[in-house]
Amino acid sequence: MIGLSDIKNLTGFIFLLLLCQFQTAGAGDYDKLSYWMEESGFENIQLNRSGNTLILAYENRIFRHEADAIAFLLHEMPLPESDEIIMLPKYLNIAMLSIQINSINLQKYRQGMMDSKDFLSKINLSQNTDYYIQKTNKNLTNPSCFKTDFLIEPMLSMQLGNFDRPIQALAEVAPDIQIQLNKGLILNAQALIPIYNNLKSMEGAKVRAGIINLSQNIRLPDNFFVTASIGTFSYDRFGVDFKTKKYFLNGLLGIYTQMGYTTWTNVGNTYEDRYFEKDNYFIGRLGGEYRFAAYDLLISASYGTFLYQDKGWRFDLLRQFDDLIVGFNGILTTDTYNVGFYLSIPVFPKKYANINKVRIRPSHYFNWGYNFRGQTYAGKNYSTGENILQKSRDFNPYFIKNQLIIRL
């Protein structure tokens, strides 16, 4: 005879069995998603469950635009059982943004029961990732470390000249090796190869070194970003550079600083190398920026020392037109003033091959700028290459949301 206590035990056993089966099925779903993410080319994947929330941290190095990667995931990724999904897109294995999605809404959107506008209005994008970072899985799938990106970047220096050479130009390709060595740590090694040169001030330019440095990028709590670089920078400078940026109002307002100490190096050979002084210089700048989210417009102002020790202001008005960036800048220093514009033009294609160990691809952008006063030392600042402060612009929650409106 089976007693009441036996029935209770049996019921408990069946419940435990079902629970185990359910959990196993859930884990299977997660494995499936992790495998799918890896197969799709995403890197630094961290996937786990916190309560009924799926936390998915990943790094996109296959789509040129972050919003394309997010849209791809929203449309295509297999959905494990969960009430809520938190997506954490990363840069150099550092989470840059949190995207909170209700799983039922995502299902409805995918099934055509909810339009994209309605779905997007129910997505919560936040620059702050602190809370979710603590809950991410510590195991990393498909890590980016030591995977080498071999970039080919087109470069153009141009001067509108006199009538014997009305347009002077130096067109170059800049092969650049980028290797992620650790979380936030990246090695850059760039060479400059002239293709066409009738730029009078750069006559005889040969193959030479470009930016070769090591950069450590860090994200601290409360939307505080830091980049420290050592090595060679543009304008033939060698030294150290330290940048910080703190965001407020979910990325609308930012305050930034820069400090650097550099000396001249002869590994490169640029216009400045030939015409300007080769002393050791300290650079220190403080600035602020504000984003008008409706237009993806950034307005910024900074004050401090420029590279060649002139002090003054720099003003920028920059708009992100999807992948294209158009900006205008003004320089007001103790000695002079200057105005100019710059473009960051996306380079084909929009999607790249997965990285196994080494990948060759074009650079994301072709960057070009023009100042009305070209032959001046005033208002110069060296570039240390791509960094987390600059990238935070591409991960801004308002910008990403505006871009998802176009893509979903």
Partner: protein
Amino acid sequence: MALFTQIKHLRILIVFHLSVIIYSFGYSQSLTGSTGLLRIPTANLSEDKTLIIGASFLNKHLLNYSGFQYDAIAAYATITFLPFLEMGIRYTRKIDMPRIEYETREFADRMPSFRLRVFKEREYTPALALGGNDFISSITGGPHYFASYYAVMTKTLFTKNENIGLEITLGHAFKIGNPHYYDLLGFFGGIRLVHPNYPWVSAMIDYDSRYWNTGFRFFLFKHLQIMPVLRNGKSFEGSLSYWIYL
């Protein structure tokens, strides 16, 4: 006297019945590179995020920049940077010049421009914009051949039977700074006629504060604008531009 002549030419407007319909049949790109009629700017801006790249042929007979000796090509890029702000850059180079050595330092002309729309066109009120060309040289004191600082109004109207749309522009350019030459100075105005069913073609006449100009605008394949212009009744000019929607 000049003003009287201008008013006389505009009397043609009286025959049109003012309609309250606001209708856009696309805006044209003037020879100068900014949104306008043939030679003058208007108060309207192209759609937000429109990038226009083009070039104009400028006839030497009306070109102070070349001392009326050489024709010129003006290459330009203009962007509607914000829904209410247009920015542009133009590079003008004289053509068929004898070779000039480096030491002569004969440089081509660079002309930045902007137009800020203060009021958008509404049912009964015109659009109003403020603008300037070659404004950096007036600050820096460099070469300054195409200066103009202006306020301009534009209103779109229709004939009674709505067969013809009219874009009417009136503006005034002011003296600011000390340039070599004002491209616009004083009163300017013009009219564009469009049949709403054929918005790809329009006829224009404008007065650029010195000369009367007539011409056509052909807008093909939603991207390409071709604009032949007859200036002062005898000098041919024209432009070709490509429109990119970002």
